[in-house]
């Protein structure tokens, strides 16, 4: 599973809104089976980076490769194919509010597969069971709690058994236990399905619990300051900003030596 085969390669990516450059010179590789963390302070462009990776926003400069295919240079049909192999969990679930949970999950299955209704029903029930929402098929998103919405969003993201799952702030707005359970679920999915997982987060507990690779973005430097296994980063990085981030500011901005 963890055979270091590159899955997504980002090369010299520059992200900009108009003439305002958010980040530049981003270069990193996400391997197959990684749980890759995109971290950084608020407003540094974590979510924007994710939007570049999932094909919602074109880079100002640089390239994003899926395997050996340059995503933004590929023709639209190929891009659509790649995008159909991606599952995204948005920050607040982004479930379609006029549909029940079952209909939310069934929609991609209806659109992209030739399965019959009973088979789709089985798959929907499976996905909901996997995220611990068995029996909630007929609920509307407005009728369930925020944490449940998030899990239902995950069930929808997994509908087509994507190769890559993206999570935008999965633990935001969740209680610690639910957040922990979601982390466990992410690990379990990686281990059993072998999916590549990309997580945008600034929750330190999650970062250390699940991440095995990462990139740290900084708003002031407008680029990445470091990356790699988060625990290793904490132990070895000399960058004061990364150290402050990974220790919740306890080491201030003074360079300090690794603990762990």
């Amino acid at each position: 599973m963890n055979n270091q085969e590159p899955h997504i390669i980002v090369q010299n990516l520059e992200m900009a809104y108009g003439s305002f450059v958010l980040q530049r010179n981003l270069t990193f590789t996400i391997n197959r089976g990684d749980i890759f963390i995109i971290m950084g302070g608020s407003g540094c462009g974590k979510s924007t980076l994710m939007r570049h990776l999932i094909g919602l926003k074109a880079p100002a400069r640089g390239k994003v490769f899926y395997g050996s295919l340059s995503f933004w240079d590929a023709p639209p049909e190929v891009r659509k194919q790649i995008m159909s192999r991606i599952g995204v969990l948005y920050q607040s679930g982004a479930l379609w509010s006029s549909m029940t949970l079952a209909e939310n999950i069934a929609l991609p299955l209806k659109e992209y597969t030739r399965l019959r209704p009973p088979e789709i029903k089985d798959l929907v029930s499976l996905k909901l069971s996997l995220v611990g929402l068995a029996g909630f098929e007929d609920y509307y998103p407005s009728e369930i709690s925020g944490g449940m919405r998030k899990r239902a969003g995950l069930a929808r993201a997994m509908a087509l058994d994507p190769d890559i799952l993206f999570f935008d702030e999965p633990s935001a707005g969740l209680d610690p236990i639910s957040a922990r359970l979601l982390d466990d679920l992410i690990l379990e999915l990686r281990d059993s399905l072998g999916s590549t997982i990309v997580v945008v987060t600034h929750e330190l507990a999650s970062i250390f619990a699940i991440g095995n690779n990462s990139v740290y973005l900084d708003a002031e430097a407008k680029t990445m300051l470091g990356g790699g296994h988060p625990k290793k980063l904490l132990a070895e990085s000399q960058n004061p900003k990364i150290r402050a981030f990974l220790t919740r500011g306890e080491e201030g901005l003074k360079p300090a030596h690794g603990k762990n």
Partner: protein, 399 residues
């Protein structure tokens, strides 16, 4: 004893997910009796959602015919690829096993599959979570509708009362809202509505004149087209047309805006700060629309008369001066006051309908859509009903 059933999915169903892995081998399932009490399932090929899983029906039949079975085991050596399609199938087999009292041993399956099967069973279905899908009896539905209607009427009356209280507070100068909010509402109710009001009322005047001209020309009384258009526009049509335009423009906008604020919990935020949404949001909008409606109505009257004049001059060979004088003679100030009264009433009604539906909005995207539709429908219906009532009253009063 050995029996064998095999079921491969039809190949033409395999091409659904064009991006999926090389779908070389279709999925394949063999069931054989390993020993008298053990059913061995051999799984092979690609068990992905690109191909249809076999039905569990055959397995169910086997379980039923063979009473000796005690357990089901799996051999997954031939599997090329799998995804949740396989897990869904296994869950059905597990369910069958449970009902038939047969042990299903999953050890022969890939490690990941076992973990997912276990994960899916980890959180049992919460009792009582599943909704009753029993259709309600007709009588209950009628009853529920009636209760809803009376509750809706009560809400509407409460809203009108609240709006009136907010207005009284405004008169005493105690109402809290932002001047900029009020001014921007004035802007969109007033100046920004002028183009559409011009176009529609000009055309309505034109149409009235056309319809009248055809009839009046038969008596050689073309000049009375000016009376017809003037009185109709000033007394009622100008107000109704502006009312309907403003329902579509502002009533819908109010409902959508307040509805979205409701979805985003912005209205709750105002309330928790002790700021009444009635004063802060509803009042400026109602004031703006009620103030602008009479002005728009006057403008619409003018445009309508202009439309009539175009027909009169262009088609009926009347001259401008003649038409103008005829109109001036026909349209009295009373008519104008009646028209203005209509428009003020419509302004209140349209703003009330828009704000009421917006404030009542649910917490989803579709609820905002419903609120907008409902605001427009309520607005137009109340305009027509109000016109009828005012007309009857005017008739009784003899004006």
């Amino acid at each position: 004893m050995l029996f064998k059933t095999s079921k491969a999915s039809a190949p033409e169903h395999n091409q659904a997910l064009s991006t999926s892995q090389v779908s070389s081998s279709p999925l394949h399932l063999d069931c054989e009796l390993h020993s008298p009490d053990t059913l061995l399932m051999r799984l092979a090929g690609n068990w992905t959602i690109a191909s249809r899983p076999p039905s569990v029906h055959d397995i169910e039949n086997q379980l039923r015919t063979n009473k000796q079975l005690k357990k089901i085991t799996f051999d997954a050596a031939g599997i090329d690829g799998w995804d949740s399609s396989l897990i869904a199938f296994l869950r059905n087999v597990l369910k069958l096993g449970e009902t038939a009292g047969i042990a299903v041993l999953t050890d022969g399956l890939p490690h990941g599959v076992q973990r997912l099967v276990r994960l899916a069973a980890a959180v049992p279905e919460r009792t009582g979570a599943r909704k009753d899908s029993m259709p309600e009896p007709l009588l209950a539905r009628i009853g529920a509708q009636a209760v809803n209607f009376s509750l809706g009427t009560r809400d509407m009356l409460a809203f009108i009362g609240d709006a009136f209280c907010a207005f009284c507070k405004f008169l005493t100068g105690a109402a809290r809202f932002q001047r900029s909010d009020f001014l921007s509402s004035i802007q969109s109710c007033g100046i920004e509505s002028l183009p559409i009001v011009s176009l529609i009322s000009l055309l309505v005047g034109l149409i009235l004149a056309f319809v009248g001209a055809v009839q009046l020309r038969m008596f050689g009384a073309q000049i009375y087209v000016a009376d017809l258009v003037g009185i109709a526009m000033v007394r009622v049509m100008g107000a109704i047309m502006t009312g309907i335009i403003m329902t579509g423009r502002m009533g819908a906008a109010f409902a959508a805006e307040l509805g979205t604020m409701q979805v985003n919990e912005e209205i709750d935020a105002l309330e928790t700060m002790g700021i009444s949404p009635m004063e802060f949001l509803v009042l400026p909008r109602m004031l703006a629309l009620t103030l602008m409606m009479p002005l728009l109505c006057l403008y619409a009257d003018l445009m309508g008369i202009l439309g009539g004049m175009i027909v009169g001059v262009g088609m009926l060979d009347l001259n401008v001066h003649e038409y103008f004088n005829q109109t001036r003679g026909a349209v009295t100030l009373t008519f104008m006051w009646i028209g203005l009264f209509h428009s003020i009433v419509f302004g209140v009604l349209v703003a009330l309908a828009g704000c009421l539906r917006g404030m009542q909005c649910g917490r989803s995207a579709s609820a905002v859509g419903n609120a907008t539709t409902s605001a427009v429908v309520t607005g137009i219906v109340s305009i027509i009903v109000a016109t009828a009532i005012i007309t009857v009253i005017c008739d009784v009063l003899g004006i």
